[in-house]
Amino acid sequence: IDPSQASSALVIAEHGGGSVKNGSISAVAAAAAALGDSSPVTLLVAGSGGAELDAAIQHASSAHPAVLVARSPLLGQPLAEPWAELLVQAQKKGNYSHIFAASSSFGKDVLPRAAALLGVSPITDVTRTIDQHTYIRPIYAGNAMATVRFKGSGPCIVSIRATSFPAVPGLALTGNREEIYVMSSTGAIGKSKWIGLSSQQTERPELGAAKIVISGGRGLKSAENFELLEKLADKLGAAVGASRAAVDAGFVPNDMQIGQTGKIVAPELYIAVGISGAIQHLAGIKDSKVIVAINKDRDAPIFQVADYGLAMDLFEALPELVAKVPSKRL
């Protein structure tokens, strides 16, 4: 590492529907925490073009004037091969000391591939920054924390857990909007084709950002019973999640899974209903401010981490909760 090299960070700005995603805004906060407020941060906003991309560029520019834009039909979908190549090209052009991204499923897919192409080890799923090259990340499903230092030559590539870096509004730094031109279909690009995405449409807040999350486990016994949770969620303006067991059983789709290998949440209030509390599930909820557990099994491990535990049949507790809980504005 060359200490005389000025620090500068490139942050991948994931976007959807014309605006930069919260996770990427958290990544900017992480970059500022690691590098200090005076180091330049450039947002990389890319896509195939069109109104949505333009809106995302506007959104990015409104708070972070240094924006690097890439437009190419190859970037229209979240495929790792062209996006990793884009990062390589952006790095060649900008010679950043750091590259940051949120540890979303996209960040997890692309960043390590790009790191390998750039000849460095990435540090992924970081929850704390110590200094520019030293970060803390969870291991063993969050039962231990590893302090890792990057001592290589090449950019320090880091993905961050959005729940650990609250999105702060605009770090206005000087810079300009530049455009880089991207690559033809060589190498691995063109060997992958995006076919489609099946997802549920929901008005509810995103799990990673929701202030209140209500989660169901195997105890719900059926997909229909999840409607009880949804009623409660609607009244509270909450997001709905699930344990692995509930997803495996087919009660709910995979994108609701919370845990070591699913989504990580850190809401103000997490209510676990009919969830036993396996180590792997707890990994996804440990940073919640308040944890409530409702389970008729008094010995369920979830009660060891819950701030408030109610050992009661959820089929009795839920309707009562729905009736008595205060209605919240979203």
């Binding site: 969050g142 590893a146 308040v290 409530v292």
Partner: protein, 253 residues
């Protein structure tokens, strides 16, 4: 076609880990070790691909010290044909980039058309190796696979992946790298006859030097510590008491 599966020996998923007093790592001596659950799923998928007639051979590979052999034997007992052990002095210095470089070298000599891995190891929770080796090989990648379908002509693979927004479907030209997610399949248990048969299957040993790979590392683990502890909670007796506490004590309402 040949399918190669990379597997890792890790602390068993059910073990409650203890951190060493000197903060150098997690206690692994006298701890139950197993094949990483995601790696088991990857082996299972390779076996199903072979059983469906799409592959002729399944090779299982692992890297590290002598104990890796146990993990490779588990793969062989499940039904893989042959094992490869990259023997290194010390497993703890094998970060994903080093593993990816070793796999790249093995792929170049073994020439599989499909490289399967688990999406992450449950010890370091990195979720990097598959992506890194795909980049080094210049192969397309499909991570977090929940369904894998090799085309009839064995020239491409269609993969459903579990992503933040739901299930994404992509198609890759072979050769390719695929990493397995939880719901891809339920791995089989090794039956006793297969465990016996596995003893006769070959495990070839090779060193990083023989593969022309230098194991360095650009990362250093400075210390391993306890996560922040939550303070103990309380049991409440009724929904009314719960709501009262949430409103007046926790103040979340």
């Amino acid at each position: 076609m040949k399918v190669m599966v990379a597997v890792k020996r890790v602390v068993d998923y059910a073990v409650k880990v203890r951190i060493k007093a000197d903060k150098s790592g997690v206690e692994t001596s006298n701890t139950k070790m197993s094949m990483n659950p995601f790696c088991e799923i990857a082996v299972e998928e390779a076996l199903r691909i072979k059983e469906a007639g799409r592959a002729s051979e399944v090779v299982v590979v692992s890297m590290g010290g002598e104990q890796c052999v146990e993990t490779i034997r588990t793969g062989l007992a499940m039904g893989a044909d042959r094992g490869l052990h990259v023997i290194t002095q010390d497993s703890s210095s094998l970060f994903p980039l080093a593993v990816a470089k070793l796999l790249q070298a093995l792929v170049s000599s073994e020439q599989p058309r499909l490289l399967l891995l688990g999406k992450q190891a449950i010890d370091d929770d990195c979720n990097q190796t598959g992506q890194m080796v795909a980049g080094l090989l210049g192969w397309p990648q499909a991570t977090f696979a929940s369904k894998v379908s090799i085309s009839d002509d064995k020239e491409s693979v269609c993969v459903e992946r579990e992503v933040d927004g739901g299930i994404e479907t992509i198609q890759l030209q072979l050769p390719a790298v695929v990493t397995a997610d939880l719901r891809l399949n339920t791995p089989r248990y090794a039956t006793l006859p297969n465990i016996m048969k596995a003893k006769k299957k070959s495990i070839q040993r090779v060193t990083p030097e023989e593969l022309n790979v230098v194991i360095g590392s650009d990362l250093e683990v400075l210390e391993v510590t306890e996560p922040p502890k939550r303070k103990a909670g309380v049991m409440v007796a009724s929904v009314d008491e719960l709501l009262d506490k949430l409103k007046n004590e926790a103040r979340v309402f």
